[in-house]
C-alpha cells in the first residue's frame, strides 16, 4: 500500500526538529502545512515576508495584507514577524532556514532538482524555488513517484531545466523516503508492502 498525501506529509513532519524554521512550497507541500500539529513550536516562513505562519484566519481576523507566498489568506502565531523581501530571502539565501519542502518534477542521483519549467509548455516562472534549494539547510522534495507514463521521477540525470544543481537532501514520494547520494538513491523508508522492484529506481 502506498502512502496517502497525508501520510507523506506526516513523514515529512517527522523529519523536523523541534523549534525548526520551515518554508513550505506551493503544490503538494501545502499538505504539510495542513498536517502540522497545532501545539508544535515550528516557525513557518513564507517568502513574501512573514515568519510564524499559523493556519487560516476567521471571518473576523482575515486581512487582505496578511497572505502567504501562494497569495492565500493566513493567520499568524505569537512571536511572528514581518519583513521585506530582501530580509526574507536573506533568511533563505543566508542559510538561516532549517528546512524547505518543495514539489518536484524530477530529482536525480546527483541531488539535482527540476521543478519549474517544461520546454514548450506554459511558463509560470521559478518564484523563490531556486533561492530556497540553494539556501535552506535541508531541502526536502515531496512529489508523486511516477510520471503519467509510469516512469520513475527519481532519475539518473534530470532532463528538464534545473531548479538547482546538487541541492536535494531527501525525497518523499507515496512509495517511500529516499536520499540521493551522488550515485544512487538510498532507500530510507518504504511504504508498507512496497517492494524495491516497484520503485523503478535508476
Amino acid at each position: 500500500m502506498s502512502w496517502t498525501k497525508e501520510q507523506m506529509a506526516d513523514k515529512v513532519i517527522s523529519l523536523f526538529k523541534p523549534g525548526s524554521s520551515i518554508n513550505l512550497g506551493i503544490g503538494m507541500p501545502t499538505a504539510v502545512a495542513e498536517r502540522i500539529p497545532p501545539q508544535s513550536d515550528f516557525m513557518i516562513h513564507s517568502e513574501n515576508g512573514v515568519l510564524g505562519v499559523k493556519g487560516r484566519p476567521t471571518k473576523e481576523t482575515v486581512s487582505p495584507t496578511l497572505i502567504n507566498a501562494g497569495k492565500e489568506t493566513i493567520s499568524i502565531n505569537k512571536g511572528a514577524s514581518f519583513f521585506d523581501s530582501s530580509m526574507s530571502f536573506g533568511m533563505i539565501r543566508g542559510g538561516h532556514i532549517d528546512y524547505c519542502v518543495l514539489g518536484g518534477m524530477e530529482v536525480d542521483c546527483e541531488q539535482s532538482l527540476a521543478n519549474w519549467a517544461i520546454p514548450g509548455k506554459k511558463i509560470t516562472g521559478m518564484g523563490g524555488a531556486m533561492d530556497l534549494v540553494n539556501g535552506a539547510k535541508q531541502v526536502i522534495i515531496m512529489m508523486t513517484h511516477f510520471s503519467k507514463d509510469g516512469e520513475s521521477k527519481l532519475v539518473k540525470k534530470c532532463t528538464l531545466p534545473l531548479t538547482g544543481y546538487k541541492v536535494v537532501d531527501l525525497v518523499v514520494t507515496e512509495m517511500g523516503l529516499f536520499r540521493p547520494n551522488g550515485k544512487a538513491f538510498e532507500i530510507i523508508d518504504l511504504a508498507e508492502g512496497v517492494t524495491k522492484e516497484q520503485l523503478k529506481l535508476p
Binding site: N48, P57, K71, T73, T163
Partner: protein
Amino acid sequence: MSSKVFKDAQSALFDFKSGSTLMSGGFGLCGIAENCIDALTQMDVKDLTVISNNIGNSGRGLVKILVQNKIKKAFCSYVGGNPDLEKQMMAKTIEVELVPQGTFAERIRAAGMGIRAFYTPTGFATPVAEGKDVKNFDRPCILETALHADFAIIKAQKGDPYGNLWFKETARNFSPLMAMAAKTTIVEVEELVELGEIAPEDIHLPGLFVQRIFQGKDYKNDIEFLLLEDQS
C-alpha cells in the same frame, strides 16, 4: 522643507514618460499602488520596462497597463496566475526576464545600496545562468547585476510628509527596496499622517528614499485566495 506632498496619483506622475523603467511594489495584489496604476492606464505612455514580482495577477494590478500594450519588457519572478502575461509571452509581444525571487529582491536592493553586482549560487546550472560569469567560491556562483529604475510606485499603510513609511503585515515585500533603487519614488498611502506621528523606531522606510507622496483613495485591497479556518 520643500513639499513632497502631492494631491493625487495623476499630479505625482506628472513627468512620467514613454520608455521609462518602472518598479512597482507588491506581491501578487498585496500592497500594490492601486491609484498610480489606475493613473497610468489613463496616460499616453508606451515602451515601458517594468520591474515587478508578478506584473499583476488575475486581470488586476499591473495587468491593466499590460493589456494596453504599454509594457515592452518585464522583469519578474512568477507569472503563474497571470494569464494575460502568459499570453503576451507566448505571442512574443513582450520580452520577459524571469528572475529567481531572491535574486530579484537582491538585485533591487543592490541598486539602492550602491552595489553594482554580486555573486550568488542561486540559478547556477539553470537557464538563469546563461551568458553569466561563473566563479567558484565555496560553491559555483553566477554574477548578477543591480536593477535600477527611473520611477518606483509603491503603497504604504501610513506615511508622513517627509515620506517616512509604515507598512502593514505582509504588504511591505519589495516596496522598501524599490524605493531605494529608483530615481523618483512615488508613494501612495492609506493614511497620510503628521510628521512625528509614526514613532522613529517604527519607521520601516526613512523618507530620504521618497520623492513624492500622496493620500490615496478608493482602495480595493483585493484578496486573491480567500481561505478561512472553517473552510480549510
